[in-house]
């Protein structure tokens, strides 16, 4: 049943898939952090021309399955003449999806900054750029770093969906090996192990972040 020599022989290929998975995770997360902040700021803008579209897009993205979004981007964008590599589309799709959740986390962080901080900044005549980059976000972000870390782990565990749009991440690699050798036990076990190890390591990382960023003062 279980063949160790087969297991060891496929590990390098699975490891290559793992590298793609990590690569896609980190880039998607970076996209999500940036777009999520844009969503969060746009949604609280007093200008309806900004807040309404932001709300509509986030509701739409959150209300539809990630897999459908990935298929849509992968199969429909080329019809509009926009051709991108599958990995690029996957990173953008995952990033956009997670941006809508991360926007909520930013919102919670921003709302937790006391009103007095806004008023003090106004009394000192700080312009919006400095208000946000030097006063509000430096206080809003440290407390939400653990929550962001948890989202990163969740995103990591959703990367196998990218197999559906032909990205050669770990799951797709494993399936191809299985198809080739008519043996799926070892490749899928390897995938599970890689995910488990990576999740355990990143959970430990999040625990560490929680200890480090428990409060604004501790974050300095």
């Amino acid at each position: 049943m279980w063949r160790w020599d087969f297991f060891w022989s496929i590990l390098p290929a699975i490891l290559n898939g793992f590298v793609v998975t990590v690569h896609a995770t980190l880039l998607s997360f970076a996209v999500a952090l940036v777009i999520g902040l844009v969503f969060a700021l746009a949604r609280r803008s007093p200008r309806a021309a900004l807040s309404r579209p932001a709300r509509a897009v986030t509701d739409f993205v959150r209300g539809t399955p990630l897999l459908v979004q990935l298929y849509f981007l992968y199969y429909v964008l080329p019809l509009a003449g926009l051709k991108f590599p599958a990995l690029t589309i996957g990173i953008f799709g995952l990033g956009l999806h997670y941006a809508t959740y991360i926007a909520e986390i930013y919102r919670a962080g921003i709302d937790a900054v006391p009103r007095g901080q806004w008023e003090a900044a106004a009394a000192l005549d700080l312009r919006p750029w400095y208000l946000w980059t030097r006063v509000i976000l430096p206080q809003a972000i440290p407390p939400i770093i653990p929550a962001l870390g948890n989202r990163l782990i969740a995103l990591f565990k959703e990367t196998p969906l990218l197999a559906a749009i032909t990205v050669a991440e770990m799951l797709l690699v494993a399936r191809e090996i299985g198809d080739e050798h008519f043996s799926y036990l070892e490749p899928y076990t390897a995938v599970g192990l890689f995910f488990l190890i990576a999740s355990l390591v990143s959970s430990a990382g999040v625990t560490w972040l929680e200890r480090k960023y428990g409060s604004v003062e501790a974050a300095i």
Partner: protein
């Protein structure tokens, strides 16, 4: 005061100011003129509208009715083109720059050192270089007696020290008008003195227009050229501290002073 303005323009002119919060009228038509350089205190029961008055002057609140002029310029409208139009954001920034405010709960930036707090606005709002802003910050911290706390974060400072940093932070913008909103109310009694002394020294220098809301009657008396008693959203009585505290003419002023001075 700008050179183009006649010297007769008061620092502050408020006419018929009204403000409600969720249907509760907090200010019911306040008229107030404060000549440049004058020290004015506002006393009165909690909820009488004193703090709201200062918050309107800082443009943290917009009045529902009435007009505010600072240095002869309307705050919420701009004159010109044969009429008045709503003030631009730029206009509000220009007005705001003339006014500084110190809050009851300090509102220091917790992620910056004392020096960072004091030098932040000169760098970000006035465009000073880091060196110049920190130079100014150090001088101001020295002035409030906290030169040795420049590198300390607010969490490590006492209430009185925090409030003195907050005063230095407001002074760093070199405002023409300073607003002090119950700046001693959140302090332990033994720490009130240090903040009060800083304010009395500031007042003695004379140049700045100062508006002080306080519940410390002896402080109100010591710092003021003029005292206004507010109750229920109106200025009930105004006059020199000597007259208001010794022989108030309004019944409500008497009652208020009797109750707060009774157990002094």
């Amino acid at each position: 005061m700008e050179a183009s303005k006649p010297p007769s323009d008061p620092a502050i002119r408020m006419t018929g100011i009204k403000k409600s919060f969720k249907g509760t009228e907090v200010l019911r038509g306040v008229d107030l003129v404060v000549p440049a350089g004058r020290k004015v205190t506002f006393i009165g029961p909690s909820g009488s509208g004193k703090s709201t008055l200062l918050r309107i002057l800082m443009t943290l609140e917009r009045p529902d009715g009435g007009a505010v002029e600072i240095g002869g310029e309307p705050v919420w409208t701009v004159r010109g083109g044969g009429g008045e139009r709503p003030a631009s954001a730029e206009h509000l920034h220009r007005i705001r720059r003339k006014v500084g405010m110190v809050f009851q709960h300090f509102h220091l930036f917790p992620h910056m050192t004392a020096l960072g707090n004091v030098s932040a606005a000169p760098r970000m709002a006035l465009g000073l270089s880091r060196a110049d802003a920190e130079d100014r910050g150090r001088r101001l911290l020295d002035r409030v007696g906290l030169a040795d706390k420049a590198g300390a974060y607010p969490a490590k400072l006492s209430g009185g020290q925090k409030q003195r940093v907050a005063i230095a932070r407001a002074l760093a913008m070199d405002p023409e008008i300073m607003l002090f909103d119950e700046v001693t109310s959140a302090l332990d009694p033994e720490l009130v003195g240090e903040a009060v002394n800083v304010l009395l020294e500031l007042a003695d220098e004379g140049r700045m227009t100062m508006l002080v809301v306080t519940h410390q009657m002896n402080f109100a008396q010591a710092i003021a050229d003029e005292v206004h008693f507010l109750d229920d959203g109106r200025i009930i009585e105004s006059g020199s501290p000597d007259r208001i505290f010794r022989e108030p003419s309004e019944e409500r002023t008497k009652k208020f002073l009797d109750s707060v001075l009774a157990y002094r």
